[in-house]
Each structure stands twice: as structure tokens, then as C-alpha cells.
Amino acid sequence: MRDDVLELLWEGLRQTLYMLVWSSLFAIIIGLILGIALVVTEKGNILEARLIHKVVSLMINGIRSIPFIILIVLLLPVARWVIGTTLGPTAAIVSLSIGAAPFLGRIVESALKEVALGKIEAAKSFGASPLQIIFRVLIPEALPALVRSLTIAVIAITELTAVAGAIGAGGLGSLAIRFGYQRFREDIMFATVITIILLVQFIQWTGDYISRSISRKRYKLE
């Protein structure tokens, strides 16, 4: 019995990590684009465009108001269109990426907003273009806050992979439901929960470590 638990756990963890890595990657890319768009199109910023700002903002709010489990169902046709199936971890990556991106957009926005406007003005006064300001000022200056925010997001995506597991995505969430819940295998349930806790802990530590080492270099903090 011990053996099959470990085997199932390993399989579940692998699938969870697979979903986590890819959907985090896509969600972070989309989220960065959304967050940057929100900040730079805001009133008084480098590419002020109030209409775009409003549209992006509404879109984000719209998707964020849909409960994730419903969003997955809504996005099933998209998953089928992109990768040809609605089952398994790969299909879930589509829903996870799209579902998490708006949340990421918002936290990227708030991290970037911490950069003092004066720094952006200084860059402008030296003749920097909007793109140069985004990539050489805005993102580098916000980096410690960005890393902290992205850590929160990756942990949120970990939770979402478990939710996705409930409707056929595989991974640790699916394991907990199929064995722990439906077959009363408390040992599997327990092992799954411990694994998820360790995983989340590991992500948090990594994020903290990166963020702290950037800050320590910049501010000589202890």
C-alpha cells in the first residue's frame, strides 16, 4: 500500500508541476503585458490612452468576476481548439493561463505603480522613449515588488491547478478528489495535502529569497 501511494503521489506531483510551470509562464507573460498596459496608458503616464486603459481594465474585471471552476468550463472550447482535447494537464494549461492572467495583470500593475513618477520623468528628460522607459526603468525599478507579487500569483496558480484537477486535469488536486474523497483513502488525501503544503512553502521561500537578494544588493539590508 505504501508503494502505490508514493507512485500515485509522484505522478500527481509531476502533472501538477507540469501544469504549474507552463501556466505560470503563460500567465506571467500575459499578465506582464496587461499590467504594463494598464500602467502606461493611465492618465499622465508615458502612453496615456484612457480608452485602452478602460477597455483593458473592464476586461480584467470581467474575467476575474467569473469563478474559476466556471471559467474552466467556459474555456473548454478554447482548449479543444488550441490543443485538440479538453482532458488532461495540457488542456488545463489553457484555462489556467487565461484564468490567472487577469489576476497577474492587476498585481503587476500595483507593483509597477510603486515606481515613483519622478524616476519616469527623469528618464523622459534624458530623451528615453516609452519602450526604453518600460524596460530600463519601470521593470528594473519595480523588480523586488514584482518578484514578491509573482510569488503570490504562482501560489494562487498552484491552488487553481488543484481546482482544475477536480474536472479532469490530473495532478495532485485530482488525486485528492479521486482517491481521498471518492474512495475514502485518507492516507492519500493526507499525503496529497502535505505535498501541496510543501510545494507552496517551497515557492514562497524561493520568491522571498530572490526578492530579498535583489533588495539586499540595492539597499544593503540585513
Partner: protein, 261 residues
Amino acid sequence: MIVIHDLSKTYKTANDTFKALNGLSLTIERGDIFGIIGFSGAGKSTLVRCMNRLEEPDKGSVRIGNTVITDLNERQLRKARQKIGMIFQSFNLFDGKTVFHNVAFPLRVSGYDKATIRRRVKEVLEMVQLSDKENAYPSQLSGGQKQRVGIARALVNEPDVLLCDEATSSLDPQTTYSILELLQEINRKLNLTIVLITHELDVLQHICKNVAVIEQGKIVENGTVDQFFLAPESDTARRFVHIVERYRQKRNVLEGAGAGI
């Protein structure tokens, strides 16, 4: 030479409008250290920010050398800004970059090669006496050192004009003097035109050659610094100089009483 003609800028809030600049005209000679003084809200900061269009004026023109700044499109403006250095009250250094990379920033965005950047950055850091701080981050510097980095960063592209927006207002008197002396030295060495926004008489008296007094978005007095102190004409100028005058009287009284100051 800087020629500002009929410059206006109005700020609109939900239920109020504020005329920061109201048809302001001003000429600043090449190589001058020109002070613009006024009380808070007089429009002095808006004026200097309109000179490189960090603030877009509603009306009027700004010409620097042969370039009419107010006629440029975005791309031309960016090019022109490379020749207009600016320093700020809050320094606005990039916390995530070392002193070297802060100073290198204007050159990098202008697309210079690495060797040129190295050479120029080293030169200006030497000029502001911060060669030993090349690898420090801004958080490790004192206020005066930060402003020196600001000055180095503003000068690295060899501008014709240096705009100073309350550049010494957050520094203590001693540091202020050392920054002012540095600016004076740079003015002499590079024949750079310096425009200085301030509300501190000390700054005027210490380095400026000419001064304009701004009041409600207009220049109300314009002349040499001596004229400003000896024969102030405008209300604002009198109120500024009055403070100095009162202290001189007080001193006379105390000396008369044998207080021995």
C-alpha cells in the same frame, strides 16, 4: 540662448482651473546662471518643466539655441532633450542601478557604444568627485552625493542647458553650498547655460548672475542679482528681500545695544 514667448499653461481640476503660466515671456543668455525665484504656486516649476516639455504648454513657444522646442514632434523632442540636462529636488535616481549605470543611462538610451559610455561616465564622475562611488547604489549615498550623481547624469550627454528644479531644496546649507559651487565650476568650464528654480535667496545670491521674479504665472521683475537685492521692484521681490532687511535692522539694534554679534 533661451527665448520663451507668451507661454501659458492652465491646469484643470474637476471644478476649478488654475493658471500656472499666464503669457510669460523671458530671454536667457547663453552661459548665464539664471535664477527664477517665486513663492509656492507662482508657476516657477511649471515654467522649467515646460522648457523640456515634461509639461505641455497650452500656448506660446520655447526656443533653445536654434531649436523651437514647442514645434518638435515626439521623436525630435527626444533627440532635443538629450541636449537639455535636468536635475530634480528629489534627485530621481534609479535605485536599482549603480552610480555608474545611473550616469550611463542617458548615453545608453542615445545608443552610444560601450567604450564611449565608459569613458564619458568616468569623466563626469571625476568632475563631480564621485569616482570612488562608481559601484555604489543610491541608497548608500548621502543627499549631497545623490545630487552629484544627478548632476553627472544630467551632464553626461554634454548638454547646452542644465535645468535645475529646486535642486538644492532638500539639502542642508553646507551641502547646498558644495552643490552650488560645483554648478558654478561646471558653468565656467563648459560654458553651460544653467537655469535654476528656487525659493532660496541664498542660492540666488551665491551663484546666479541674473534673476527673474515670477508671480501668478508672469515675470514681474527681471535683471541682475544686485538689482534684485538693492532695488527690488516687484511685490514678491520686496517680500523676499524684506526678510533679509528685517534681520539687518535687528542686527543693528542688537549691535547698538552692545550684544556683540
